[in-house]
């Protein structure tokens, strides 16, 4: 075989990870055009029916097709994890850049704020927003966006502080490059190798947090399915219909594991000094 394709250890992580995430994203996208059964229509004839060629993932306690509900339930998980990370990333970028660029008192105050936000464990702040604003996607995304922002702020801050005395930055400032351009064109590319894995892991953690919140009944509201509330429904029928628990768990883990693999692959690739 010609040595055209070289195999790196990180390739395996990236390939497997992309495949896992790909399956989940594909199913979520297909759900917009085609569903194998009606995810909302209750049918007493198929109540708790076990997996069969007609309903390959079986049916739930109201006779609804589990595969269709899982496909539909992937949507909020995927959407919230992606938009939430985007918000966290933008917030973190603003806070971290200001902190790292200006230093001094601004840095101290912003970092203290970041530390304080980090004191709210995972889903707690999201729960607060749910309590105050009400149940809904907006509260969840806002809560998670704020909770996850400090970790990105830290990467931006540390990175900028390390890079800002480098000669190429000093040179750029000397010839009069303005601050916004300096940050975006000259500083941010130097941080990609730290930010990329952190963003991918962030998506995974956000998906976990969302499903946890929905499991608690504070996230996506029934009858709209999400992986979390499917698991909550399934728990009551865990002995008679274990497929109601197994399949939603399977897809949640597939998504999260795939993202972890991708992040690990990116990290290994940069560590190995690959292209």
């Amino acid at each position: 075989m010609p040595k055209m394709i070289r195999f790196h250890p990180h390739s395996l992580f990236l390939i497997v990870g992309t495949a896992f995430v790909g399956i989940v994203l594909l199913l979520a996208m297909i759900s917009f055009f085609y569903l194998p059964g009606d995810p909302m229509a209750t049918d007493s004839a198929t109540k708790l029916a076990s997996p069969s060629p007609l309903h390959i993932f079986g049916c739930d306690h109201e006779g609804r097709d589990v595969l269709s509900r899982v496909m539909l339930g992937l949507r909020p998980t995927v959407t919230i994890s992606l938009i939430g990370v985007l918000i966290a990333f933008i917030l973190g970028m603003m806070i971290g850049s200001a902190s790292g660029h200006f230093g001094g008192i601004i840095d101290n105050v912003l970092m203290l704020l970041a530390d304080s936000i980090m004191a709210f464990p995972g889903i707690l702040l999201a729960l607060v927003f749910v309590a105050v604003i009400g149940k809904g996607l907006f509260s969840i995304i806002l809560g998670f966006g704020i909770v996850f922002a400090p970790s990105y702020a830290r990467i931006f801050r540390t990175g900028i502080r390390q890079l800002k005395d480098r000669e190429y930055i000093l040179q750029a400032r000397m010839i009069g490059v303005k601050t916004p351009r300096l940050l975006i064109v000259h500083l941010f590319p130097g941080l990609v190798h730290q930010l990329a894995p952190a963003v991918v892991v962030g998506i995974a953690n956000m998906a976990l947090a969302e499903s946890g919140l929905s499991y608690l009944g504070q996230g996506v509201q029934v009858p709209n399915p999400s992986l979390g509330n499917l698991l909550k429904d399934g728990q009551s029928y865990i002995t008679s219909a274990p497929w109601m628990v197994i399949f939603p768990s399977l897809f949640l883990i597939l998504y999260v594991l795939g993202l972890y693999f991708i992040s690990e692959g990116i990290r290994m690739k940069y560590k190995a000094g690959g292209v």
């Binding site: 995972g122 946890g212 608690l216 865990i238 274990p242 693999f261």
Partner: protein, 313 residues
């Protein structure tokens, strides 16, 4: 000493900010909190009564300082649904949640260190690769999914425990620990997966250093080198990881408690949110956040004890 004073000052600042964020989240919202709590059907008289009970007629800053002064005395106001002091309600549930936290941290330490040491023994070899892949897989399991699968396979199929059974610590201490054992495992497994990876990495970095080669060439046994030199010196990054894990464990417990039907802080929190019992939710959130801050503080102090150089920074 200077370092400790500085850290304590930082701790106080963070606690202050945390309380401010908690307070702001609840009361600096558009609209009237009393109306939000009672819903659209409430009469004006009811709303006015609740406004007085919550102290909403006073200015925002006065309310904040009264709340925080009360918090220092252990008085977080009264719950609207339970008609009891918030701090008493929290004190009833907290031992359960803290026991799960303590047990899962203990499990993580006891299991992750041996695994990390074994994996670091021969990097890149079979055992190391195996632990690495298993580590990734188990890290991806959300604690509550693990809890559900454990109920299904260990509880209902293998009959190792009775699903949903809980024995209070006032009835029997061993029974209490036994009923929290499986929930703690569910919380601990992802944390073991991630921390063994960090322990392994930290040990490998330390192993490469010159003084370890010197110690070995002086004829010290491998075990002695490991426990006297490598482990103590690789503790600094490990402590950082554990402080982060400790805060995440609280988040995980919130959901796992509900799966195993344990009457801990989580059920109280969810009940208070569903009932729009703002003083109770606020109190629980403040409690959990301040506890996390204190965990970080303890980790920093441990840090400085393990590596005194940190104090000079």
């Amino acid at each position: 000493m200077n370092y400790f004073l500085k850290r304590t000052f930082q701790l106080l600042c963070t606690v202050f900010l945390v309380s401010l964020i908690t307070f702001a989240a609840f009361y600096v919202i558009p609209g009237d909190p009393a109306r939000v709590i009672l819903g659209p059907e409430a009469s004006d008289g009811q709303i006015d009564a609740l406004r007085v009970e919550l102290g909403l007629d006073k200015p925002l800053t006065t309310r904040y300082f009264e709340w925080i002064a009360g918090a220092f005395r252990g008085d977080l106001g009264r719950s609207l649904t339970f008609r009891q002091p918030v701090s008493r309600l929290i004190a009833q549930k907290l031992p359960v949640t803290l026991s799960i936290a303590a047990m899962s941290i203990l499990m993580t330490v006891l299991v992750a260190f041996p695994l990390g040491i074994v994996a670091s023994g021969r990097p890149g070899k079979f055992l190391d690769q195996l632990f690495s892949v298993l580590g990734h897989i188990f890290f991806a399991f959300p604690p509550f999914v693990l809890a559900l699968l454990m109920t299904l396979f260990l509880g209902l199929t293998l009959k190792l425990f009775v699903a949903g059974e809980y024995i209070s610590y006032t009835d029997s201490i061993p029974g209490f620990i036994a009923s929290l054992f499986y929930p703690s495992i569910a919380v601990a497994i992802p944390k073991i997966a991630i921390s063994q990876k960090f322990i392994r990495a930290s040990i490998i970095v330390e192993k490469e250093k010159d003084y370890i080669r010197t110690a070995k060439s002086h004829g010290l046994s491998d075990t002695k080198v490991m426990f006297r030199h490598i482990l103590p010196n690789s503790l600094v990054p490990i402590i950082t990881v554990f402080s982060i894990i400790a805060s995440e464990i609280l988040g995980g417990i919130l959901v796992v408690e509900m799966v195993f039907n344990i009457p801990g802080i989580s059920r109280l929190l969810i009940t208070s949110i569903n009932a729009r019992d703002f003083p109770l939710t606020e109190g629980i959130v403040l409690y959990l956040a301040v506890m996390t801050v204190i965990v970080y503080f303890i980790a920093d102090i441990l840090h400085s004890l393990v590596d005194p150089r940190i104090r000079l920074r």
